[in-house]
């Protein structure tokens, strides 16, 4: 599949290794684009294909009091700069007032812009999300954003390929988030470096598009250049009748073409990893990168289990930062905050799970919990389904769409030393706020821990509905 997409996009072969590839969709946001616009202005260049470029505001947008002026004036300037740039170059912008605004990796699929076979780029590492549709989708730097503006192409060194074959069926209560955290714990945070990962196996075939997006989204946390899943009927059903999907007869033709992208059963990969999903438990990270995790039934590991003194050092640092001790059971870790959101887990399926868990319960009085839908459309759909009411009744805050506390560029940040159960993708030092402590979990695990005040095994949850 990867080779088919690559080969069909080659504009020019520079050498055996380096290629110029055509870009079908360029997604931009306020943080990584201003310097690229400056660059093209300085060089007296222009945006070659504004019609293949889509902008939204997500990284620093407030999730509360949107009708009021922004308190953060530097952030406001960044948002205004994006609006001006889009206007000057004729680019469609879904800003804070738009019903289509949201996290860039949530809105493109839901608007039907992410089609199988496309090459999609964005100045954001989680662009790998779109690979769930059988696209080659990669995060790029701002210089490359400028390159795409000017040429609608990217220069790429051909990456190696890695197959991650997931077999078996997921046990009840286990999500694709647990799956990807388990995979990263097995192959390491640089285990897929220089590779494009293709997820295969019967487990994937049963995954919804939302679950597939979660899996591909966090491929970058294993160091992968991109994550991909071959399109199938689940993909086509998802795309049917979306705003920018081909309509009626064209859709049938498109499906025929998309179906040809199916992975060749004899495809050769540079690396193959087989993983059985049958024994995966709910996962919780305890350290300062997404590879430092353990099943909910586990404990904080002993330093000695990491080998030499040099190998123990980063673990020691991580535990010190997280204020955790070896042998501490995960289920006894108390939390102060819960964040349900981010491009990893903020789609309607995630919110439905949260609703089912919290219905009839109240957020623990020691915990402050918030739900931030991935897009304004997701928010509206959730409200139509009455999800917001159940969640608010339980004591969660119900916010407007954006990246929010996944990276804390707006006001949604942890206070120093607060401990958070988060459905986001990175537990790096300071990621959610200076000296904040992040534990990555699935939406179900985050919701349940908000109720209990500590991590708890979702498999034994007593549903009240």
């Amino acid at each position: 599949m990867f080779d088919k997409i690559w080969d069909s996009h080659v504009v020019h072969k520079i050498s055996e290794k380096e290629f110029i590839l055509y870009v079908d969709l360029h997604l931009i946001h306020e943080v990584t684009s201003p310097q690229a616009f400056d660059g093209i202005r300085l060089a007296k260049r222009t945006v070659r294909r504004p019609d293949l470029t889509l902008a939204t505001t997500d990284h620093n947008t407030p999730t509360i009091n949107r009708n009021q002026p922004l308190k953060d004036k530097i952030a406001e300037l960044q948002l205004k700069t994006l609006a001006k740039n889009c206007k000057d170059f004729g680019i469609t912008l879904y800003d804070m007032k738009s019903p289509f605004q949201g996290i860039v990796h949530v809105i493109a699929p839901e608007q039907g812009l992410t089609h199988p076979g496309k090459i999609i780029v964005c100045g954001d590492s989680h662009t790998s999300t779109h690979g769930a549709f059988g696209t080659f989708a990669i995060g790029i730097g701002t210089s490359e954003v400028e390159h795409v503006f000017a040429t609608q192409t990217i220069r790429q060194f051909k990456p190696k390929t890695m197959q991650i074959n997931l077999t078996g069926s997921l046990p009840s209560g286990i999500s694709s988030k647990d799956c990807i955290l388990w995979i990263i714990s097995q192959i390491g945070i640089s285990g897929a470096r220089e590779h494009v990962v293709e997820y295969t196996g019967n487990c994937i075939e049963s995954f919804s598009m939302e679950s597939r997006m979660t899996l591909c989204n966090m491929s970058i946390e294993a160091g992968a250049r991109a994550g991909m899943i071959a399109p199938d009927n689940i993909t086509f059903e998802y795309l049917k009748n979306r705003k920018h999907s081909p309509n009626h007869q064209s859709f049938e033709k498109a499906v025929k073409i998309w179906s040809t992208l199916k992975s060749d059963p004899n495809a050769k990969y540079d690396k193959v990893v087989d993983i059985s999903v049958e024994d995966i438990e709910p996962m919780v990270t305890w350290g300062t990168n997404p590879g430092m995790s353990t099943p909910i039934s586990g404990k904080i590991p002993e330093l000695a289990s990491f080998g030499s003194e040099a190998e123990q050092l980063p673990i020691k640092r991580a535990l010190q930062y997280m204020n955790l001790e070896a042998e501490q059971p995960i289920s006894e870790i108390n939390i102060d905050r819960v964040f349900i959101g981010s491009c990893t887990n903020s789609r309607i399926e995630d919110l439905r799970i949260v609703r089912d868990i919290v219905a009839g319960y109240a957020v623990n009085k020691t915990v402050q919990a918030m739900v931030v839908p991935g897009s304004t459309s997701v928010k509206k759909q959730a409200e139509n389904e009455g999800i917001d009411k159940v969640i608010k009744d339980a004591g969660f805050e119900w916010r407007d769409a954006g990246c929010s506390m996944c990276l804390g560029m707006n006001e949604d940040v942890l206070k120093p030393y607060e401990r958070c159960a988060s459905t986001s993708n990175r537990n790096f030092e300071g990621r959610q706020g200076h000296n904040g402590r992040t534990h990555l979990v699935s939406p179900a695990m985050a919701a349940a821990s908000a109720i209990k005040g500590h991590f708890t095994d979702i498999r034994s949850w007593k549903f009240k509905t």
């Binding site: 260049r45 730097g141 390159h147 040429t151 609608q152 081909p246 990168n289």
Partner: protein, 205 residues
């Protein structure tokens, strides 16, 4: 972009692996709309304590290395976010070369876009070099990109030859503007678009 040809400098040892771009430049400094002035925020949360005073135990605050233009560090440097602000901050602070056992993919590419030379060397070379720089802060090397060599300047002894892709090497040596290069193939881009146009709205490629 300034070309990179040769560099002689002391080396700042930062003996940690998996340093992510959130550490290199924290998110609160990503709201600016310019490319310059990020050096003062480099490694901000490690470099300063919560009162904003320099954390003296952090390597960057060690005056013995204040003029180092080479950063020597651990595995998987630059992982996480794609923010090019990380490369801008390193360059603005004064680092022109980073030596590590491995780099995260997006960061590695961002280095070349900004005239920074990232050199990957095996652990068996990095480890003794790290010790050497820790024990002898005045230890200087010369990096010659054309020959792909690192030389110990006090003994003029060549320490190692490093590997680098020839196209990337050329970009750095000449300070090439990639966009200008790609635009040489504009007729090919146009031809690709014309071919694609026939199936507009149906064909994904």
């Amino acid at each position: 972009m300034k070309p990179f040809k040769k560099l002689t400098s002391t080396i700042l040892p930062l003996d940690r692996s998996d340093i992510d771009t959130d550490q290199i430049i924290p998110k609160q400094f990503l709201k600016r709309i310019t490319k310059s002035g990020y050096g003062e925020f480099l490694f901000y949360n490690w470099r300063y304590n919560s009162k904003g005073n320099p954390n003296l135990s952090f390597e960057l605050n060690d005056l013995k290395y204040k003029d180092s233009q080479i950063l020597l560090t651990g595995n998987n440097f630059g992982s996480g976010s794609s923010r090019e602000h990380a490369a801008w901050a390193l360059l603005d602070y004064g680092f022109k070369c980073i030596i590590a056992p491995s780099f995260a993919d997006i960061f590695y590419n961002n280095c070349f876009e900004n005239g920074i030379l990232p050199i990957s060397l095996p652990n068996k070379i990095i480890e003794p070099l790290m010790l050497k720089c820790i024990n002898k802060p005045t230890f200087k090397i010369t990096i010659n990109l054309l020959d792909q060599t690192i030389t110990n300047i006090s003994s003029s002894k060549s320490l190692i030859k490093f590997e680098i892709d020839s196209a990337r090497k050329n970009t750095l040596l000449k300070g090439i503007d990639n966009i200008g290069e790609t635009l040489h193939y504009e007729s090919k881009i146009k031809a690709f678009e014309d071919k694609q146009g026939k199936h507009k709205g149906i064909l994904p490629f």
